[in-house]
Amino acid sequence: MSEGPLAGLRVLDLTQGVAGPFATKYYADFGADVVKVERPDGGDPARRMGPFPQDLPHPETSGMFLHLNTGKRSVTLNLRHATARGILLRLAADADLIVESFRPGTLARLGVDADALAAANPRAVLLQLSNFGQTGPYRDFVADDMLMYAMGGVMQVTGDPQREPIKLGLYMPLFFAGVVAAGMGLAAVWGARRDGAGERVDCSIQEMLAASMDRGAPNLMAYQYSGSLMTTRERAVRMNALPAGTYPVADGYVSISTQIAWWPRLCRTIGRPDLIDDERLASRLYDAELAEEIDALVYPWLLSHTKQEAMELAQAEGWPVSALNAMDDVFRDPHFRARNFFTTLDHPHAGLLEYPGFALKLHGTPGTLRRAPLLGEHTVGVLCGLGYQRADVVRLRQLGVV
């Protein structure tokens, strides 16, 4: 097991769902000690999200939960009990970073608001991640990944103009928010350690999407610079003759992007080097009227190759063509395999499974992927770390505190 870059960092994790747990997964996978607090009755709702092996729901085998919570320790606390709140404040006193993703106001209702946490540990960072932030008129709105995509402004410009707008893949905006928040939290700890003072960070998923380079900020800026959005839900118009977009091949589809300067690469790929210097074409590649003629050159080549062949042959010439892979293609992709992206973990209930591994490879301090915890698996260990005896923990369990 390799020591990760964040070894020694202590994180108290009060998150649930997708975005918050994805942020704290980054801390856990990279070596921090992450203590995840779950409610005793069912725990993190991600335990009910699925997918489940053989489609049989079980609180310990939700695929989303297993992925989002690798490497964490799970403690159950019923925060409606004063004793549980006392335990929470003691855990906070030991933490460098406290992350929470409740609906705004929830912590205050439970009697452990930001001020109470700051009093328990004036040097800790409190990172609050929520849909709309801790202030403002939409603060209490309920939302999920699609609704956040809508309120980030990006969904309205995604899709076919004749149809309803369309969202990204499942939960993607929330995963994105988790990564941004993970960085915000680390930066705050960096500043807090230097200054010997705590910090409180309010992260709004809506703001992250509005500022994102995925057509958020670029569109908002372009609109002010030119009076037009850069991207709208317009049918993609061929701006020039060059093939760009999704094209069929023998066994599926490829995605192609082409620029004028890459014309020779295209010609070499499709076995027509004679066309590189064809003045009639080469000088008019901005002319969309030539699109049909160019397509007629490219289609026969595309349709006589598989997506993998087309990608490899074109990329060998420096022409960006890529396979539109389904998940079975992804699992056998030679590149992801060669990079050892897939990581097999064993789990008492879910068994041996391949998980997404490290997209970030830190050559000096790589970190380790470890399985997600069972509900309350570490309650005894964590409480004993606070000085409780095992008999105390039994009593707390009888009282419904843990």
Binding site: G153, G183, V237, Y355, A359, K361
Partner: protein, 435 residues
């Protein structure tokens, strides 16, 4: 700039060749947080975030490309008036160095000795060719952290593959997961999710390596694969395949469990309200608000499983009602009744959104050549060390040559003038960049 206030990353110096879309998302995060980000540019090969063109062809200037140049003006200096560059490089410095020449490279080595981090997303072999790869730099500054993030990472059979975010997302499987349920992949719209996602990973990674350096005393090389950073977020489909061998297709706007779910038409042209009903109580509240309480007791829609099974019948019934309502008013009404619902904000109107305004999200920033515009603010509100006002505009090309080369590196005036004369540095784009 000139603000000396203390910020979380004050004192952290980052050299950047953060290009196109992914790199810039890293630099805006880092600069907002207080890092000193020095963008290493070149007057011979411009950062493609500024431009791919020496002279922008008029048809492109009239079309989509023109939208991101101020006033669709492609005249001299347009590389300083680029919309996304002027967002994503705000608060950064610009130094031009011709790394193709030895003098430029030597100066870069000197900068690397004064830096904590070097981030770059050039095509995979570029830093080796320019001799500014990790081995070269670590020899001169063992504390340096280097983050490299070409599309497919720096190792593996696709490491030389070219292409933008759409290419990585396709190979990682995201594109096939997010089209309309009933159409083929050629109708799937573009998304650029992979780019900002990579930038956010870079910010996290270099911070993690800074923490490690506090203990180990040395820097390290970090290899980020943008495609894998997307793949690990396709968790629902990924785990389903790992567990059940099931290959998921287009989800469209469907939820795995709930109905009604999706955007529904509202009153007016291209107005939509997104609704996500996850409980019987929310469904009853929705039916009440829409004036069709009888639907809540309809046998076809009586519980979550029934609604999901009959969602094809339910959706038009909901849409027939939502289209009579104003999107914002319906959002407010439904939220008050406990139903997850939002309007689909139009980006043209976001600076007027009452919530974002109340939070003070948009920040006016004045750029010396582009003027004053509202920019999305920092992506976290810090109570003790506020990140607003943001630190300043994006730099013009080579704006900080003198400050950095003479100030930080202590070059003499004569040496500086010679660099200008030799076009190792400069402030005017000299040749076509080949992106």
């Amino acid at each position: 700039m000139g603000s000396e206030r203390s910020l979380p990353l004050s004192g952290v110096r980052v050299l950047s060749q953060g290009i196109v879309w992914a790199g810039p998302f890293a630099t805006v995060l880092l600069a907002d947080l207080g890092a000193e980000v020095i963008e290493i540019e070149s007057i011979q090969h411009l950062n493609p975030t500024r431009t791919n063109f020496r002279h922008i062809p008029q048809p492109l200037l009239d079309g989509r490309v023109g939208t991101y140049y101020l006033g669709r003006d492609g005249s001299e200096g347009f590389w300083n008036r680029q919309a996304w560059f002027n967002f994503a490089k705000r608060g950064c410095k610009s130094v031009t160095l011709d790394l193709e020449r030895e003098r430029g490279r030597e100066l870069f080595y000197e900068l690397a000795q004064h830096a904590d981090v070097f981030i770059e997303n050039n095509a995979a072999a570029v830093v080796e060719r320019l001799q500014v790869d990790y081995a070269q730099l670590a020899q001169r500054n063992p504390r340096l952290i280097m983050v490299r993030f070409p599309g497919f990472g720096i190792e593996g059979p696709y490491r030389h593959f070219k292409g933008y975010g759409t290419i990585m997302e396709a190979v990682a499987g995201h594109t096939l997961l997010r089209g309309y349920e009933d159409s083929d992949p050629s109708q799937t719209p573009n998304s650029l999710h992979g780019d900002p996602n990579a930038g956010a990973n870079v910010a996290f990674a270099l911070l993690a390596a800074l923490f490690a350096r506090e203990r180990t005393g040395v820097g390290q090389l970090i290899d980020l694969s943008q495609s894998e950073a997307v793949l690990q977020q396709e968790a629902y489909a990924f785990m389903d395949y790992a567990m059940n061998g099931r290959v998921q297709g287009h989800w469209g706007n469907a939820s795995p469990a709930f109905a009604p779910y999706g955007p529904y038409p509202a009153r007016g042209h291209d107005r939509w309200v997104a609704i996500a009903v996850s409980s019987d109580a929310a469904f009853a509240a929705l039916c009440d608000c829409l004036g069709v309480p009888e639907l809540a007791s309809d046998a076809r829609f009586v519980d979550a499983a029934a609604r999901y099974a009959h969602r094809g019948e339910l959706d038009p019934l909901v849409a027939a009602r939502t289209c009579q309502h104003d999107a914002r008013a319906l959002m407010v009404q439904l939220q008050a009744a406990g139903v997850s619902a939002t309007e689909l904000l139009h980006q043209e109107e976001m600076t007027d959104d009452p919530h974002l305004r109340a939070r003070g999200f948009f920040q006016p920033i004045t750029h010396p050549e582009a003027g004053t515009h509202l920019q999305p603010g920092p992506m976290g509100t810090f109570a003790r060390q506020p990140l607003v006002p943001v630190r300043g505009p994006a730099p013009t090309l080579g704006q900080h040559n003198e400050e950095v080369l003479c100030g930080l590196l202590g070059l003499s005036r004569a040496a500086y003038e010679q660099l200008l004369a030799d076009e190792v540095i400069g402030t005017v784009y000299r040749e076509d960049a080949h992106a």
